[in-house]
Each structure stands twice: as structure tokens, then as C-alpha cells.
Symmetry: C2
């Protein structure tokens, strides 16, 4: 049995693009895409064979579910106008850091559908492996979040707003900060005319290792063995790159403290 | 045509274990393994069907090549005794940070064979994809380094000692520091009873993305869009974890400065 729902996407960014494509692939109907600018609403609506609008007043009132994927700072501003007159629908936001309660006083049925992944518009991810974390203010909203989530992913968990904040913080470390380490690495290579592609096998293996051992067990390098000569010499290579040097220092100290068991847990 | 060489491994750590296994797989003979402790010399020697010793005086004098994979701090100490009386052999070290000149005055034929990868004893990597960087003090040593390197890997490049130091520094960022970001992520999850396995698809995608776009283009998250509310709230979640909070602050600042073009290059 397949449930067919009328879905509206509020927001047309990277997350909406990937989630919309995954829902469309499961035969769901995306009836409309709203974005602040008509250009981005249209760009995504065309990919999903949906209508486009840049006016909240024109968002259809009879959708089953409104999936709200906008910048955190825009979310609270947009809800009063969006929810009004659409009380029969279920409202789901997709943000790791925003609590369920952001909907309080605006919507009747509401919840959260947080896909923990890093998205690009150009590169659609395989949604079936994306862990989805759901929450609902009432059973109806929770069921809706779960139904949508299970359509697109095999990894669905219920999680409270409080725990989701910590999950999102953990994702910032594992994704955004790890990627920034790649970026700083790329800058060093670039300054010495070495192509970044030589680093890819190491990056891949570093990620692959933590599938079979903990990151703590997987750690190697000068800081974990507290090789002061190498660390001093590497700090000197970073003279003039103050930001990278601060990061080198903080990371090395933290790696050493963790490895030696001196780190506060 | 296959050249068969008599190889001695000086050191029995993670790198020696992986390189030794790769050479053995190519039909090369590892005649002997030296380590400071007999236990680790024996453990690796058995895997490679080689003899084991914990005495430099007992290292054979007629090997074609001595591959020295010991801690940087031990390397210079060990060379005078190791090289003496073995002047016909080629000496290769495998360290990213040590210059070729560490052999000056001790060996006649010497060079570097630096495999840029993170190794474990338990998990043998596919050496054919490991980038190897070689250097030689004379043509004989360079040829030996290249011959060995091409036996085990399809990615062999010649690189000067000066550039190799920067390459190694870049590897510390892309591997050790990225892995420490995983570790800090794992600690946050552990405190909230969430299994680290939920983070693996995100870690994999973060690594996969930089195969098709630059790390700068791939960056997402609160810091790159300078979402101050999220960043402030996440800093508060880290109250009590001072080291992690320092890293959060430095990384966020650096991501923002880079994205906005304000970072010194």
C-alpha cells in the first residue's frame, strides 16, 4: 500500500532539493515550492514538476504536509503567516538546532524531520542511507513524519528536541569541521604546487577506519605520540598563517590530552 | 621481469607492517625485521616469514635495502650504528617530516620512500592506491626507491625534502585533525546515548564530496553562513568541555573568514 500525499516545500535550498527529489522518486506529489526568490522557487519546482511561488499568501491551503526547510533565522519569522489558515495540514521543519516548540501557538499538527547529512544541489545523495530523526507534537504529526521518513530512508529514529541539538552539534564536528581540515590541507598543498587529489586516498581511509574502530583507536600522527620536534617544526611551517596555526595548536593539544586520558570528558 | 631483492625492515610498527605485507605480496623477500623489543620484531617477522632481532649489531650486512620506519626521534640516534659496515646497501626512511640529509655522513646510498596514508596493524590497506613520494641522494638510491615504490603502488611521485614537510603537514590536517573532529563528535554522542554509527553516512559523504568539488565549495553548516544564533547556542552546549569549546570557536572563525574571503592565504 502506498500513501499518496500532497506535499508543499517551503524553501528551495540544498536540503529541500535533495528531500524533494527523494520524495518524488517514491511517487509522492510535490504540489508547490515556495522560496523567497522566484528564481530559486522555479528552479526547484521544475525539477519536481511542481508549481512555484515567492509569496506566502499564495501557498496552497489544502496540502497534507508542509515541509519547512529555511535558514534557522528565517523559520520563526515565517511561521505566523505560513500556518494561519492552513490548520488542517501537518507542519514539519528539518533543522537540527531548532526545537519542536518553534511551532507553538501557530500550528495545530507539527513535528520535525531532520535528515542528518550534508547536501549539495548539484550532487543528489542516496537518501536511503541518510539517518532521519523525527519528532511530533501529537500522534498525527508523528505518524506523518514517520510515514514520510520511512518512504525515503531505512534509518529512522525518534529523538527529542533536546537530544537533537547535541546530535546537530556532533554533526558540525564530524562534517563541517572535518571538511575545514580538508580545506586547510588543500591550501597548504596549493601553496606548494601539489594537487589536492593526492590527499584523497588518505581522506577516504581516515573515514573508512572509523567504521571498524573508534576514532580514538584510529588516531595516528605527531600529536598522539607527542612528538614535540615534529610539532614545533610544523608550527614554524605555518608562520604567517595565523588562523591555521591556532587550529594546529588547539587540535594538537586536544589530541594529546584525549590520548593521555587527561581530557575532561 | 621481476627484480628480487633482499629487504630488511628496521622498525615493526604500523607503517612497516603494511609496507612489509605489500612487498611480500609482490614476491619480495623480507629477510629480517628489527625492532627495539623482541616481541614486536617477532610479531611482524612471523607475518612476513622473516627472521627477527632486537639488536642492531645482529642486523644482516648483505641486504640490498634497509627500510627504516621508526619514530622520528629515534631515527637519527639509530643511524650511526645501523649504517656502519653496511655501506653497500641502500637506506630508505619512510618519514614525512625528516629530510633526506638525516643520513648525511652515515650512509653512502640513501633516500626516502614516504607512503602518505594512515596505517593500522589490524587493518591492512590496499597499497596499490597509496600515494608514494620518493627522493634519492644518488641515482642508485633513487632507482631503488622507485623500483620498490612502483612494485606496490600505482601512485609514485618524486618530491624534495622541503616540499615533503609541507605535504606531511597537509596530511596532519586532512587525517589526524579530521579524525579528531570525529572523536569530539563521538564524545558528544556518547554523553547523550546516541550510537556513533549514526554519524557514519555523514562522515562518508563529507569525504566523498571532495572528490568532485573543492572543500571550500563543499562547506555547509552554521559557521559558513555565519548563523550567530546557532553558533552561540552550540557554544553553550559545550560548557564544561573547554578544549572542545576552544576548537569550536577557532574552527568556526576560520570557516567564516575563509568563506568570506577575509582569511590570509
Amino acid at each position: 500500500m502506498t500513501m499518496k500525499m500532497r506535499i508543499v516545500l517551503i524553501g528551495a535550498g540544498r536540503l529541500a532539493t535533495n528531500l524533494g527529489a527523494a520524495l518524488r522518486q517514491q511517487g509522492q506529489e510535490i504540489v508547490q515550492v515556495y522560496s523567497r526568490t522566484m528564481a530559486s522557487a522555479t528552479a526547484l519546482a521544475q525539477r519536481l514538476e511542481a508549481a512555484a511561488t515567492d509569496s506566502l499568501a499564495d501557498v496552497v491551503t489544502d496540502a497534507d504536509v508542509y515541509i519547512v526547510s529555511v535558514k534557522d533565522s528565517a523559520l520563526a519569522q515565517l511561521l505566523p503567516e505560513l500556518c494561519k489558515g492552513r490548520e488542517e495540514g501537518v507542519f514539519l521543519h528539518t533543522a537540527g538546532s531548532m526545537p519542536l516548540s518553534v511551532f507553538d501557538g501557530y500550528a495545530r499538527h507539527y513535528g520535525v524531520l531532520y535528515p542528518m547529512q550534508t547536501f549539495s544541489k548539484e550532487r543528489l545523495v542516496d537518501f536511503s542511507r541518510v539517518p532521519l530523526f523525527i519528532e511530533g507534537a501529537d500522534q498525527y504529526a508523528l505518524d506523518m513524519a514517520e510515514t514520510l521518513a520511512r518512504m525515503v530512508s531505512g534509518e529512522v529514529r525518534q529523538l527529542s528536541s533536546a537530544d537533537r541539538r547535541h546530535l546537530h552539534l556532533a554533526a558540525v564536528f564530524a562534517c563541517n569541521f572535518a571538511n575545514h581540515c580538508y580545506e586547510l590541507s588543500a591550501e597548504i598543498l596549493e601553496r606548494h604546487g601539489i594537487p589536492f587529489s593526492v590527499m584523497l586516498p588518505l581522506i577516504d581511509e581516515t573515514a573508512a577506519k572509523v567504521h571498524t574502530m573508534s576514532p580514538r583507536e584510529a588516531q595516528t600522527g605527531p600529536a598522539v605520540r607527542f612528538d614535540e620536534n615534529v610539532m614545533q617544526a610544523q608550527m614554524q611551517l605555518l608562520a604567517g598563517q595565523e588562523q591555521a596555526r591556532h587550529i594546529y595548536e588547539e587540535m594538537s593539544r586536544s589530541i594529546y590530552l584525549t590520548a593521555s586520558g587527561l581530557q575532561e570528558k
